[in-house]
Amino acid sequence: MKALCWNGINKLNVERVPDPSILNPGDAIVRVTMSSVCGSDLHLLDGYVPAMREGDIIGHEFMGEVVEVGPEVTKLKKGDRVVVGSVLGCGGCEFCQTDQWSLCDNSNTHPEILEKAYGYAGAGIFGYSHAFGGYAGSHAEYIRVPYADTGSFKVPEGIKDESAVFTSDAFPTGYMAADMCGIEPGDTVVVWGAGGVGQMAMQSAWLLGAGRVIAIDRFPERLAMAKLYAKAEVLNYEEVDILEALREMTGGRGPDRCIDAVGMEAHTTGVEQYYDRAKQAVRLQTDRPAVLRQAIMACRKGGTISIVGVYGGLLDKFPMGAAMNKALTFRMGQMFAQKYIPKLLDIVADGQVDPAYLLTHKWSLDQGPEGYKMFKEKTDNCMRVVFAP
């Protein structure tokens, strides 16, 4: 079959690889009908996620049709149209049983890699390096789905592929970001990053009772989408001083809940950018925490910082004093796909949110490398490219 393989930093190629097969009794094979790019893949392309190996198939946000099931699979059958969560959960461990799926004890094939770096390792993730299990990703014609019963969800008839595919990753991540905020009625929620994840966080903030939603980015077309589809007020950080703007917009109190939907490769202006890039380049810090710093400063006293933008390693100049003395609450994590997907499919079926607008480009898998180039450089108003093999 055809697959999009990572062959080094910023080196992607479409290659012919063997078809996947059932390897464990709980596996299913899914024929991929749609597979989306995600901001997380950019961290792989740019080399910030270690333990990638040449030839790894990437991609983790996808849906498709079940074509084969292992002997232990009970909930799925051939022909089912399913969306599959990007994070693998075994279903049997303490974390899966308490709905904290990305912390699964069992789905990571090589937990020893992350145990060295983090003390304890998280779940496996499709197409996301050997530190996260080394599972072949979804930018391919077929994919092997381990723990198929726990991670795959049948898509109701009324939902079209273009909407369903984003309930795999972008929507549950955005929803969890808002959920972790602990929004109280009338709260002002600010979302840094108006990418797919940020857009879904804004939509979810409304669902969870926000009184006001503010989006921050620098790309006018993304801010325009935030305004149009997510009914957000928008701030371009290249045009205004964010701290000042947020203070004035909130009567001098500061926003109640701050969501980081950007992560370790945050872009900055001014001196900070050179400082962070230089340190990151010589590995004195691995991540550029510009958004986090800003969110901590902007947040009201006693507010919440909810982090779904991915960080991998160490941060420098982290304003711990501000966080501590303002009594901020921090919530964060890779998202719990299996916890949220059923609820989100209902929300989409009801027409409360339609994530389909994230799909700005539907391309063939053969255009994988160009697709990622466009997504990375945010050209042609690209929000998310979806490959339909």
Partner: protein, 253 residues
């Protein structure tokens, strides 16, 4: 490392059972040390390569050297040092590892007690056969295709659903002993399994050196064996990626 382990076992009040001082620890350079070298070498090489970083590569190189020595019986270090490995005192290596398994204690205990199940999750074991109510025969693979090692062991202590301890019989190729405890985890978290595995590497400076290098690997081996045990019990399968597609032509995963 050794004193650290002793302290830990004091703290945890574990490890009353030690391997006999008769087999591997008393034999001169020869078969046993060669097997240990080969085993350690293969482990170092295996985990070293798996780690994919500089420390890993150093491990792999060291592993290669041990493997060479194990396979040939020739040890340059030994020759330069002008010693043989006969007359220093023996070393006891002891590894303690715990894991929590979300299953009832009886189920966890019963699976382990059926010793024939052990090779299902202990990667280096090829076969365990129960010879009588207490005695069993063990066959371990020596990685790197050097062969197998076999020994007999006796269960020397057994408390249903609580404790299982065994010891290799005197004059075994590898003097070893083990103790596994099964305890209720707090609330509904299942069962804590604590394994204390000890063995005696061959005597002498070279044996000691090999043991020092191998110790972290044996720790990792015990950890990964326990982890496979947990995974098997909690989900009925052990996650793998070997055999899945990739763009690599050499190894297909």
């Amino acid at each position: 490392m050794d004193t650290f382990n002793t302290k830990l076992s004091e703290l945890l009040n574990t490890a009353h059972i030690n391997p006999p001082l008769t087999g591997s620890s008393q034999i001169n350079v020869g078969t046993t040390e060669r097997i240990i070298s080969a085993l350690g070498g293969a482990l170092l090489t295996y985990y070293g390569l798996k780690k994919l970083d500089t420390a890993g590569i150093a491990m792999a190189v060291a592993g290669g050297a041990l493997l060479f020595r194990g396979a040939t019986g020739y040890c340059p270090v030994n020759e330069v040092a002008g010693r043989d490995t006969a007359d220093s005192e023996s070393i006891l290596i002891q590894i303690t590892r715990s894991l929590t398994i979300r299953k009832p204690r009886a189920e966890v205990y019963q699976y382990w007690r059926r010793l024939e199940n052990l090779p299902n999750f202990m990667e280096h074991l090829q076969d365990v056969r129960q010879l009588g109510p207490k005695r069993s025969h063990w066959v371990a693979k020596v990685p790197g295709g050097v062969g197998t090692v076999e020994w007999d062991a006796d269960i020397i202590q057994e408390e249903e659903n609580t404790l299982l301890a065994w010891q290799s019989l005197p004059n075994s190729t590898i003097d070893n002993a083990g103790e596994v405890r099964f305890m209720d985890a707090p609330q509904d978290r299942g069962t804590v399994v604590q394994a204390i595995i000890s063995y005696r590497p061959p005597v002498g400076s070279v044996g000691g050196l090999a043991a020092k290098m191998m110790n972290p690997l044996f720790e990792q081996m015990v950890q990964e064996d326990l982890r496979r045990f947990k995974r098997l019990l909690e989900t009925g399968e052990i996650p793998i990626i070997e055999g899945q597609p990739s763009g690599r032509t050499s190894k297909n995963y």
